[in-house]
Subunit: 110 residues, 4 copies
């Protein structure tokens, strides 16, 4: 889970440093892509984490999550709500009976 | 926040459809990058969301978060813990006194 | 332009260092995304290049192009041909008369 | 190779449709990342191209190259020159004697 107190700690650290003035949906969408690529880099050359360093993978995933939290806050979005709303759409589009074991979702999902 | 029940709902939907067999840290790191680019696409040509469609932005952010949740679960990582651990490192590296109003972090942060 | 001699120089440098054994369409597609994000990082916080450093932007664009060259070579693709083939499709889909001045392509192009 | 006539054809198609007014280094850097992710998507779940569709891979690589060409033109950069300049730096940093067979470059290269 990501608790409210974690979200608050993230936002407070940004505010204390006046970093939040750099934050907009557009700049944060770029930041998420940049950090996602740093995470991807851990698996650039193969299925095992570079140098087997899982702590580094965790840090990069944390960076992606941190910018996602900041983007949700910046836009006034409730993370639980948007994730569950999207899940409801996905479940409707891919019913268990017809989707089970199929990679169809994985071809079509955007 | 992202509550435990939301995490459970995500993981159950994947299991029910046998989608979790496609999940590994490597495939999920790619999925996060791909969804992050879909989010970036909302702001491809400017600072306003394409077509002003904030619901679409919310859905794309939800897709990034969903794959982040699945990657954390896949690797047995506690999202609260990794985000707070990374925040502690960031705070140590950029003390309020010297970082306030500076974009230094934004040049160096990876 | 990117001349044949440039392509040869890139491939020879990789071969001399035995780096080409890391190259496959899959690993190179990841490498292109990773370098593209480094290029994006130059414009993370605004429309001006970070630190106004255009030489750095050029280097990052060169990294993307280098991996594109390696991927085309790895797959036996003729870059001129694939770019012109795709251009022909785009021109067919977006005739000048109906597309001029419209951002339609920019909403739909994937 | 990517010949001058291909570059000209790309730029003319954009001009005819007034699409070049959307082009700036910042918007094109985002476009390159977005198309790179579409290319990555071909290899999202494994080392084989989705549906074994290599024509689709070629089209996505062409999209990345097209935006790279447009960015180079937009910034007045000579693609041959920037690629060879960057190659010279890479060769200096990773001499054949010490780099051969090593993945060092692949850990450090950004």
């Amino acid at each position: 889970m990501i608790s409210d107190s974690t979200v608050k700690a993230i936002m407070e650290a940004a505010r204390e440093r006046d970093w939040d003035r750099f934050h907009s949906p557009a700049t944060l969408s770029r930041s998420i892509s940049i950090e996602a690529a740093e995470l991807l880099e851990c698996y650039q050359w193969g299925d095992e984490a570079r140098d087997g360093d899982l702590g580094h993978v965790a840090d990069e995933l944390a960076d992606v999550l941190t910018y996602c939290i900041e983007m949700a806050e910046c836009m006034g979005l409730d993370m639980d709500k948007i994730v569950l709303d999207k899940l409801a759409k996905t479940k409707l589009k891919y019913p268990v009976e017809t989707s089970k074991g199929s990679t169809e979702k994985y071809r079509e999902l955007h």
